[in-house]
């Protein structure tokens, strides 16, 4: 397995840890952090500084009853349920977006399949399955698109992306990702605007396909 070479930008990492990213992007960021030790270390280093800041803050008075209430709560409150865990190639945040079930792929044409995980005012999040050597139709998008490779690889004008690699595409990138020949490429893609494909599916039909 090759090392991850395409990472979260500072702005995206900062947006994630401060909770400012829209949900589809936050899921992609959390999935990348699950796979990438380098970015995980960056995030946790930032937490070390947060902890140091917490130790320095001027303490506030806590009410008298707070301490008793706290100790009583240890026995009263049941432990929270275990969150849905990673499974196979899907990190925990992706399994959670899948509701804990394996993906139900829908055919898109050309052997390409997808699962829409969410599509609302926050943007859209989906899984894409691209057969070996196949190209996704050239498309542009109105905003930011994040694509995280979970299996296989793809290449486009921006380079080659393998497992764990994250492509950050702004609206000025017109890209046509092609899956590597070594096997099917499965990736997690988030956008804050609907994709506009140049070919294959007429724009009029896009609402039907929700892509």
């Amino acid at each position: 397995m090759t090392a991850i070479t395409h990472h979260l930008s500072d702005a995206l990492l900062d947006g994630y840890v401060t909770g400012c990213l829209a949900q589809p992007f936050a899921v992609v960021a959390a999935a990348h952090l699950s796979l990438c030790d380098a970015c995980r270390a960056r995030a946790e280093t930032a937490d070390m500084l947060g902890g140091a800041m917490l130790d320095r803050i001027a303490p506030a008075d806590v009410s008298q009853g707070g301490r008793d209430r706290m100790m009583a709560a240890l026995d009263l409150a049941p432990p929270p349920p275990q969150p849905i865990a990673a499974s196979g190639i899907f990190p925990a945040p992706v399994m959670q977006a899948l509701g804990g079930r394996p993906p139900k792929w829908r055919m898109l044409g050309g052997g390409i399949r997808q699962v829409i995980l969410s599509a609302d005012v926050d943007g859209s999040l989906r899984l894409l399955y691209i057969p070996p050597g196949r190209a996704v139709p050239e498309h542009s998008h109105g905003g930011l698109e994040l694509t995280l490779v979970l299996q296989g690889s793809f290449a486009d004008s921006e380079g080659r992306f393998g497992p764990g690699d994250l492509e950050i595409a702004d609206d000025d990138v017109d890209h046509q990702p092609t899956a590597g020949v070594e096997g099917p490429c499965i990736c997690l893609a988030a956008t804050d605007a609907p994709l506009r494909f140049r070919a294959m599916i007429p724009r009029l039909l896009q609402p039907l396909f929700r892509i």
């Binding site: 500072d10 702005a11 900062d14 840890v17 401060t18 909770g19 400012c20 949900q23 936050a26 899921v27 959390a30 999935a31 952090l33 699950s34 995980r40 946790e44 937490d47 070390m48 500084l49 947060g50 902890g51 140091a52 800041m53 917490l54 130790d55 320095r56 803050i57 001027a58 303490p59 506030a60 008075d61 806590v62 009410s63 707070g66 301490r67 209430r69 706290m70 100790m71 709560a73 240890l74 409150a77 432990p79 929270p80 969150p83 865990a85 990673a86 990190p91 925990a92 945040p93 959670q96 977006a97 926050d122």
Partner: protein
């Protein structure tokens, strides 16, 4: 530092006692240490007195229940508890909870690497010393970044500065910190 002294002063050791022995006395020490600081942090983040205390209780309850996930190789108690509080505060402000990365686990049966944990503690101490040395201006920028910046925050309204300027000031503050740390590390 003798181990006995450390065990009475180091929140990380209290947290390990909670993790490994469900030690209530140690948990109480954690509460005494962190509750007033968490409350102050949450109030800086815009919560009122009463709700800040409620959230402190929530956060410390997560500490109690999730202590098994604490890994002293990757964080000290302050950093770990800071992140729990931060995420709790973020979830209160978001429509959907913030998705979190996979919990990392040490391989089954692996021994804790005491030297690594000690080194991390020393790094943290250096960081704290570096924090003592920054200007009040830089400290304010960091406090804002770590206690106040929230989803849909009014940071640019409050300061009258565009977000980009704030961000670059944060970066400058962090960069200064790092360089100061490096200076401290020179033999």
């Amino acid at each position: 530092m003798p181990a006995e002294t450390a065990s009475h002063t180091d929140p990380t050791l209290w947290l390990l006692a909670v993790r490994d022995h469900r030690d209530r006395a140690a948990f109480l020490m954690l509460f005494e240490h962190f509750a007033p600081r968490l409350k102050a942090m949450l109030m800086r983040g815009g919560l009122r007195d009463g709700s800040a205390e409620d959230v402190v209780q929530d956060v410390m309850l997560v500490v109690w229940h999730k202590a098994a996930q604490f890994d002293p190789h990757r964080a000290d108690a302050s950093a770990w508890i800071y992140r729990i509080a931060r995420n709790r505060r973020i979830d209160l402000a978001r429509r959907k909870p913030l998705p979190e990365p996979d919990a990392l686990a040490e391989p089954e049966g692996s021994e804790p690497d005491a030297a690594h944990v000690l080194a991390l503690g020393q790094e943290a101490a250096l960081l704290r010393r570096a924090l003592d040395a920054i200007s009040p201006d830089q400290a304010r920028v960091l406090e804002q970044a770590y206690f106040e910046d929230l989803p849909h925050s009014r940071i640019s309204e409050m300061s009258g500065l565009p977000l980009g300027t704030i961000k670059s000031r944060i970066r400058l503050g962090l960069d200064r910190l790092r360089r100061h740390l490096n200076d401290l590390r020179q033999p």
